[in-house]
Symmetry: C2
Subunit: 271 residues, 2 copies
C-alpha cells in the first residue's frame, strides 16, 4: 500500500484535521501489531541501504521535519525509526525557544544553519513551523508578521529543493484524549518525572487554536517540492510504520546509484 | 572481564605498539564469535539505558575520540556500536582536511566548537590528534609547533573534563597486513569503489612513521581525565565488543540517577 499518497496533504487542498482520524491505521487492527512491527523493521533495514546510497552519491540530502502537539511522539519516532540509521551522516536538531543570538536574526537563520550536508539526513524536531504555530497562538509577534511567513517558508523550502535538499514534513496527529492519557502516564511513571514541565499541560487550553494554526500551515505550505504528511499517531506502532514507509518511498523515488570512481580501478596497486 | 583495565594506556607509561597484538581477543576464539556478538548486543542495549540517564541528568556529556590508520574500522565502529544509541542526543563529527576558515584559527578551535552539549554523546571520527599525526608525518608545520601540541592538548582536555565532559579515546590498532587485505577487498567490491581514493594507499609508505607518531600521542596524552585505549582491531567482532564494553564501564562508573523534579508532582492536575 502506498502510504505517501494516503497521508499526503495535496497542494492547494483545504485541510480539516477533524476529518482525519488519528486512530486510522490503514486497515491494520490491534491484532496485526506484530505484523506491522515486522514491516517497520523491514522498512528500517531498507532505509539503511538507501542512506548508504545517499551518502555514497554525496549529491543530495534528506530533510525530515517533525511537528506535533506535545506527547504526540516526536521523540518516540526518532527513537524507533531514525535510530536504525547510521549516526554518521545523520543529525537531529531540536529547535527550542530561540536564543538571544537567534532572535537577533530572521526566523529562518537558525534553520538554514542546520540544513543537512550533502549525502546526509537531517531531522528537525520542531522547526521553522513553530514560528507560525506557538508564535501565532500566543501572539508573540503581530499578525502581519506571522501571516507573511507562510509564503516566506515556501520560498525558502523551494530554494533548498532546487539545491538538492529533499524535504519531507510529518505532522504527527493525535487526539486530545490521547494526549491526556499520555500525560497521565507520565505522571504515574517515576522515571519520567524529570521530563515533566507543568507549562506543557497548560498548553492544552489552547488545543483548538493550535489545531487551527496547524491546519493553516499544512494547507498553505504543502507543496510539490516540500510535501506535508498527516500521520495518524494515536497508535504508536502504526505511526512508526507510516513514517518509515513514506521515507522509503521518498528515497526510492530518487533512483539513486553508486557513483563511478573518477579513475581506473584496475590500475591501482597496493603493496 | 574488565576491558577498560586491559586496554588502557597507563598514564606516564611507555607505549610500544609492537608489544600490543592487534589479533588479541581477550581469550575469545573464532568459535566464540556468536557469543561475543551477543555480548556486544547486550552492551549496546545497556548503553541505550545509560544514554537515557545521561540525557535526563543533563549535567555531563560523553566525548568519544576515534583514531586509527585507514581501513582500521572507524566507520565500522560507528556503524555497529554507536547506531544502537538514540540519534537524538548523539552527534558524529568527522574532521577532514581543515577549511580555510579553520586554518585561520588555532588547531583546537574547530574541535572546541564540536564538543557535545550537556546530556549528549559526541563522537569524533578523527580529531585534534591528526595535528600530531598526519601533520607530523608530512611535516605540515615545523617540529617546534607540533611538538608543543601534546601539552596543549592535555590542557585543553583537562579544561573539558573539569567542565563535566567525560572523555574516552580509542586507537583502533590493526596490523599492516590486515590493512592490505582490507584495501584489496575494497578493490574487489564494486559497491565500495566510490570509497577509494588512490592517495589512501600511498599513505602505507609511511606506516612506520605513523606508528611512531601514534606511540608518542598515546604516551604523552593518556591522562587520568582523558585516557587512551588501544583496541586490538584485526577482528572486527572483538573490536566492537571491546569498544562497547569500555563505554558501558565508563558510563556506569558515573553512577548516574534520574534527577528529581523541581516541583510537587502530586499537585499537578491535567484536564
Amino acid at each position: 500500500m502506498n502510504l505517501s499518497k494516503r497521508f499526503l496533504v495535496k497542494p492547494g487542498k483545504k485541510v480539516r484535521l477533524k476529518d482525519r482520524d488519528p486512530e486510522d491505521s490503514a486497515g491494520y487492527g490491534k491484532k496485526d501489531r506484530a505484523k506491522v512491527e515486522k514491516l517497520t523493521e523491514q522498512n528500517i533495514r531498507r532505509l539503511d541501504e538507501l542512506q548508504y546510497l545517499l551518502y555514497a552519491e554525496n549529491r543530495r540530502s534528506l530533510l525530515i521535519v517533525l511537528q506535533a502537539m506535545d506527547a504526540a511522539g516526536k521523540d518516540g519516532t526518532i527513537r524507533h525509526v531514525i535510530r536504525g540509521l547510521n549516526p554518521q551522516g545523520c543529525t537531529v536538531t531540536s529547535f527550542k525557544k530561540p536564543s538571544d543570538e537567534e532572535l537577533d536574526h530572521d526566523f529562518l537563520w537558525r534553520i538554514h544553519k542546520a540544513v543537512p550536508n550533502k549525502g546526509d539526513i537531517g531531522i528537525f524536531n520542531r522547526s521553522h513551523y513553530e514560528d507560525v504555530l506557538v508564535v501565532r497562538v500566543h501572539e508573540l509577534v503581530p499578525k502581519d508578521v506571522w501571516a507573511a511567513r507562510y509564503e516566506q517558508i515556501n520560498r525558502f523550502e523551494e530554494l533548498l529543493a532546487e539545491n538538492n535538499v529533499v524535504i519531507v514534513k510529518f505532522f504527527l496527529h493525535i487526539s486530545k484524549d490521547e494526549q491526556l492519557e499520555r500525560f497521565q502516564d507520565r505522571l504515574k511513571d517515576k522515571d519520567k518525572h524529570w521530563k515533566i514541565s507543568p507549562s506543557d499541560f497548560g498548553e492544552r487550553k489552547y488545543w483548538k487554536e493550535y489545531q487551527r494554526a496547524y491546519e493553516d500551515a499544512l494547507e498553505k505550505c504543502s507543496t510539490k517540492h516540500a510535501p506535508w504528511y498527516v500521520i495518524p499517531s494515536n497508535r504508536k506502532w502504526f505511526r512508526n510504520l507510516a513514517v518509515s514507509q513514506i521515507l522509503v518511498e521518498t528515497l526510492e523515488s530518487l533512483q539513486m546509484s553508486f557513483p563511478k570512481p573518477a579513475f581506473d580501478i584496475s590500475k591501482i596497486k597496493v603493496e
